[in-house]
Every structure is written in structure tokens, then in C-alpha cells.
């Protein structure tokens, strides 16, 4: 898929673990792993909003378009 999820980069910058993020955002570890590993087919705006709010970032900090992938 051409959309790359840079969730681990943002987690490292904010010094937050995936477990901590899942508790704050209200998503299961399984779902977050699916998102982090790029296996997700789609993301809801509500989910993106909660992640951006928790990590204090923009959607573009988490999602990247790379046409050559």
C-alpha cells in the first residue's frame, strides 16, 4: 500500500509505549498493531483524531504517502 503509517516514529518522539497509547486512545493492542504494521485497510477520522490528540501531532506526522511502495 502507498500509505505508510509512522506511528512508531511518533511514539518514540513522545516517549510513549504502544500499550500506553492503546489505553489513552481506547483501541486494543491488536488494532494498534494492525495499524502500526501497515496492515490496516482504512482508518476512521474519529480514531485519527484521538491518536493525534494523544500524541499532540498532525495527521501528516503519522501518515505518509509514498507512491513507490
Amino acid at each position: 500500500m502507498a500509505i505508510i503509517v509512522n506511528l512508531d516514529v511518533m511514539l518514540a518522539r513522545r516517549k510513549m509505549s504502544l500499550t500506553e497509547l492503546s489505553e489513552k486512545v481506547g483501541l486494543t493492542m491488536t488494532n494498534l498493531s494492525v495499524l502500526k504494521t501497515g496492515k490496516a485497510k482504512a482508518i476512521r477520522f474519529s480514531t485519527l483524531e484521538r491518536i493525534c490528540k494523544t500524541l499532540d501531532c498532525q495527521p501528516g506526522d503519522i501518515l505518509e504517502y509514498s507512491p513507490h511502495t
Binding site: 483501541l27 494498534l32 494492525v34 496492515k39 485497510k41 482504512a42 482508518i43 476512521r44 480514531t47
Partner: protein, 209 residues
């Protein structure tokens, strides 16, 4: 994905199907035993074989339809019925056991497939590759069943009905199209495609975060 509670109608279908399946098993065992005994000539000359006649006969019988206090004259034009072979010869009896066993085997196969399908649906496992495969197998089996009945009816017409002679009845060159079987097969085939779409939508939904 959260588990959806099985609707009552599906549970009823599941229970009814279980009852029908096990009752059919008993009937199938009886049919196989009878066929076996016929092949072994257990009944000797006393066999009075009764089969459904898939060929129509012309009746031309006049009658009356009673409705409330009035009567309406009617005429019975043609009908289907059953035929009994008095003191059935062994060769004929054995010949009829072959379609009997094929029908019993085919129906057992289809009922088993449907049973597994409805059991999955009852458990909430609806859009699964196995269920789609089962629907397609059922559809194909019904199609084969339809072809079987058409051939059986034609053979009965050619080898039995044409040589039947009654004092007041005339055999017609008319058999039933069994369209219901064909339509049901096509409906199941279309349903399998709908289930496939459902599977793809479910997969997509489960990977939507």
C-alpha cells in the same frame, strides 16, 4: 468484531433442520435395507412395488365442485399419480432400486452440507469461505438433481408410460419440468456470490481501525 446474537428464526431453522436430518437418516437406512433385500430377492414373488409415475395421464372425468350451496360442473383433464406393479418381477424391482439409492444418497449429501452450513450460521460464523463453498456445492448438487429427474422422467416415459394401457385412461407425453429445483439452484448460486461480497466487506471492516 462484536458477536451478533443469532436471530430466533435461524435457531428455529437449525433445530428443524436437525430434526429433519435425523428423521431422514432413519428413512435412508430403511430405504437402503429394503434395496438390499430386493437385490437379494428376499421378497420373492410377493413384491408389490409402488412408484410415482412422473408422466401425466388423460382422465376426462366429469365431476362436481360443491361450494356453499351451489354446485359447479368440472372435468378432470389430466393428472399425475402412482403405479403399482402387481407381483413385481425381480429384474424390474432391482432396476427401480438404482434411482432409489441415487436419490437417497443425493439427498443425504445435500442435507449434510446444508446442516453444516446452518450450524455455522447458528454459531454466528456467517461470512466464511467454508459457507460460500457449501452454498456453491449445494447449488451444483441441486442442478445435478434437476438433470437427474429430467432424465428419470424421460426414461419412465419411454420405457414404462408408453407401454401402459388402461381401459379408461390414456397416457400423455407430458412430464413435469421440476422448475423449482432449477430456480432454487440458481438462487443458492446467487446467494454464494452475495456471501462472498459479505466476506470481503467483513474483512475490510475488521481491518478498519
Amino acid at each position: 468484531m462484536e458477536k451478533v446474537k443469532t436471530p430466533v428464526s435461524i435457531r428455529i431453522i437449525f433445530i428443524l433442520n436437525e430434526i429433519i436430518f435425523w428423521l431422514f437418516n432413519l428413512a435412508a437406512i430403511a430405504a437402503v435395507v429394503i434395496a438390499f433385500l430386493v437385490f437379494l430377492n428376499f421378497f420373492g414373488d410377493d413384491l408389490q412395488l409402488q412408484v410415482k409415475l412422473p408422466v401425466a395421464f388423460q382422465a376426462n372425468l366429469d365431476g362436481v365442485l360443491m361450494q356453499d350451496n351451489s354446485s359447479l360442473n368440472v372435468r378432470l383433464l389430466d393428472a399425475y399419480g402412482e403405479i403399482q406393479f402387481i407381483d413385481t418381477p425381480l429384474s424390474l424391482a432391482r432396476l427401480f432400486m438404482i434411482p432409489l439409492l441415487l436419490v437417497v444418497g443425493g439427498m443425504y449429501f445435500m442435507l449434510s452440507i446444508f446442516r453444516r452450513f446452518i450450524r455455522n450460521v447458528n454459531r454466528g460464523l456467517i461470512f466464511e469461505a467454508r459457507n460460500i463453498r457449501r452454498l456453491r456445492v449445494l447449488a451444483f448438487s441441486l442442478l445435478v438433481f434437476w438433470v437427474f429427474w429430467i432424465i428419470y422422467d424421460i426414461l419412465m416415459l419411454l420405457f414404462i408410460a408408453r407401454d401402459l394401457h388402461f381401459a379408461t385412461l390414456e397416457m400423455l407425453n407430458k412430464t413435469q419440468p421440476h422448475a423449482t429445483l432449477l430456480i432454487f439452484a440458481l438462487v443458492l448460486w446467487a446467494l454464494s456470490h452475495i456471501f462472498l461480497r459479505g466476506l470481503k466487506l467483513e474483512e475490510e471492516a475488521s481491518l478498519t481501525i
